[in-house]
């Protein structure tokens, strides 16, 4: 394989990894604050993709209007799910909340099948985004470059919010000790709602970019990316935002490069994530950037 082909695969891997990272952040943030694996997250991503699809087709919105609409509606959806399905179980055992999350996941998948039919639909195409640039013999789509840039910008904003603002400080406090956070006067339900809002917004952005890259929407489109991004979050160390991004990149690169180098692996593409997960759980159960001791609030 020549250097140019390699660079091309590398660019694709980074781009796919960025998409994984955007979704993985949502898993990791919710886990950090609620110790909950939000199984519905992949389906929120799916809903966002449908919103984008309908916004730009039936309602013929320009992409930037649709983009804002998708973020706003998805954030509302995420907050409503938290309020309806998780908040009433705040004092219940984690397993109950987990079952509730699985329930929400099925609900969204079936609702989407019922409302939008199970038939996959074509996402609008963007000529400026799929336009191929020729960079010294390496041809890359504009989108392939934009996706990682968007992801990194979001990551920096997010790290700023979490490490440098009062809201971020409250989030970190709530993630360690609910009770004492309450005694500080922090309204923990609001902080949790903000966490879901951020996670859902990132899933919405991810869904929009995903739709441009893989222009098809269907009710089960969130299942596989959801699982993989959860795995990415675990690989990076669940609860750790930088870890989620790292895990996303590792997973994206591994998928693209392994399939590129070993053509015979093509059919096993989706298995790579699970194999990586098993390896990480054996070698470093807390994930690459995870804390040494698993702590429970």
């Amino acid at each position: 394989m020549g250097l140019q082909t390699f660079m091309q695969h590398l660019a694709n891997g980074i781009s796919l990894g960025s998409l994984y990272a955007l979704i993985a952040i949502g898993y990791t943030m919710v886990y950090g604050i609620l110790r909950l694996i939000n199984f519905a997250h992949g389906d929120i991503f799916m809903m966002a993709a449908y919103l984008a699809f309908f916004g730009m087709t039936i309602f013929s919105m320009p992409w930037y209007v649709a983009f804002i609409m998708v973020i706003v509606v998805t954030v509302i959806l995420g907050i409503l799910i938290e309020k309806a399905a998780y908040r009433p179980l705040r004092d219940a055992p984690t397993s109950s909340v987990l079952i509730s999350a699985i329930g929400v996941s099925f609900l969204l998948e079936n609702l989407a099948t019922f409302l939008f039919s199970g038939k996959p639909r074509a996402f609008p195409t963007f000529e400026t985004m799929t336009y191929s640039l020729d960079m010294q013999g390496v041809s890359v789509q504009v989108l392939t470059i934009i996706v990682p840039i968007v992801t990194l910008i979001i990551l920096f904003i997010l790290l700023f919010v979490i490490n440098r603002t009062k809201l971020g400080m409250a989030m970190r406090a709530v993630s360690k000790d609910y009770e004492i956070a309450k005694v500080m006067g922090i309204k923990i339900n609001n902080i949790i709602a903000y966490t879901f809002a951020i996670g859902s917004a990132l899933a919405a952005i991810g869904a929009f970019l995903w739709g441009m890259k893989y222009p098809q929407v269907s009710p089960l489109m969130g299942v596989m990316p959801g699982l993989k991004c959860f795995i990415a979050a675990v690989i990076g160390g669940i609860g750790n935002i930088k870890g989620a991004v790292l895990g996303g990149f590792i997973l994206g690169l591994a998928e693209v490069l392994l399939v590129a180098f070993f053509g015979q692996l093509t059919g096993y593409r989706d298995a790579i994530a699970f194999i990586l997960l098993i390896i990480i759980l054996l070698v470093r159960p807390t994930g690459l950037l995870g804390e040494k001791t698993a702590e429970k609030v």
């Binding site: 409250a170 406090a173 993630s175 004492i180 309450k182 005694v183 500080m184 006067g185």
Partner: protein
């Protein structure tokens, strides 16, 4: 200032606090002493709204605060230095100090300077993660965090637990110092001797009921208290 009437609290059907009444007048140091499991922490936790009482009433400055949420209660000027410090280990020392003032909207610099004055050790370590502090330093941080809310009433749950005698003395000096500055204090202590010496009023809690109350110095002289809590027979 703080008035508790016939407070009952249970955990899953087991009564931990069996109808107690107590009062903490403004500008006093009150202390609540009692053996392990007597229900001392439970009383404090119900005052700040972390556990809901079964019955009874808690009022603060004449207003009932029973059933309010913790943020509503602390916004009225009550704060807690919890049992076991419970500083936020993943926040820096300075952030722990600032989060104590979470509900305040005014400028904090004056009070941060005051904390640096009160606890020079913390100032040197302001950028360190609080989880890496020593036990005594964490206790100081827990007190500093509570003070940052500018409370009218500060409740401390065994602030001297596990600390060396010299540090304990330091903590009591600070209690007296903040009392001088006009704060009302409700103190829980295993160290009954020190607590009763510092206190204006003392309450003795035994398996969920108050069995004795009186001036701190009076209780200190009481024979049964000396035997039960001070380990002295005469």
């Amino acid at each position: 200032m703080l008035k508790i009437e016939d407070l009952k609290v249970s955990y899953g059907g087991i009564e931990a606090v069996k109808g107690i009444s107590l009062e903490v007048p403004e500008n006093t140091i009150a202390t609540l002493i009692g053996a392990n499991g007597a229900g001392k922490s439970t009383v404090l936790r119900s005052i700040v709204g972390l556990v809901k009482p079964v019955s009874g009433d808690i009022s603060f400055n004449g207003e009932s605060i029973t059933g309010l949420t913790s943020d509503q209660i602390v916004s009225r000027g009550i704060t807690l230095v919890p049992e076991g410090r419970r500083i936020f280990p993943n926040l820096t020392v300075l952030e722990n100090i600032k989060i104590g003032a979470y509900m305040r909207k005014d400028d904090l610099s004056e009070d941060i300077a005051w904390m640096n004055d009160l606890f020079p050790r913390l100032k040197e370590r302001s950028w360190q993660l609080a989880g890496t502090l020593s036990g005594g330093e964490q206790q100081m941080l827990a007190v500093a965090r509570a003070l940052m809310s500018k409370p009218k009433l500060i409740m401390m749950d065994e602030p001297s637990l596990g600390l060396a005698p010299l540090v304990v003395k330091g903590i009591f000096d600070i209690i007296k110092e903040i009392h001088k500055q006009g704060m009302t204090i409700l103190l829980i202590e295993q160290n009954a001797n020190l607590a009763l010496k510092a206190a204006d009023i003392g309450y003795v809690l035994e398996t969920g009921s108050i069995v004795m109350q009186g001036e701190g110095k009076e209780l200190l002289k009481d024979q049964s208290i000396r035997e039960a809590y001070l380990g002295k027979s005469k």
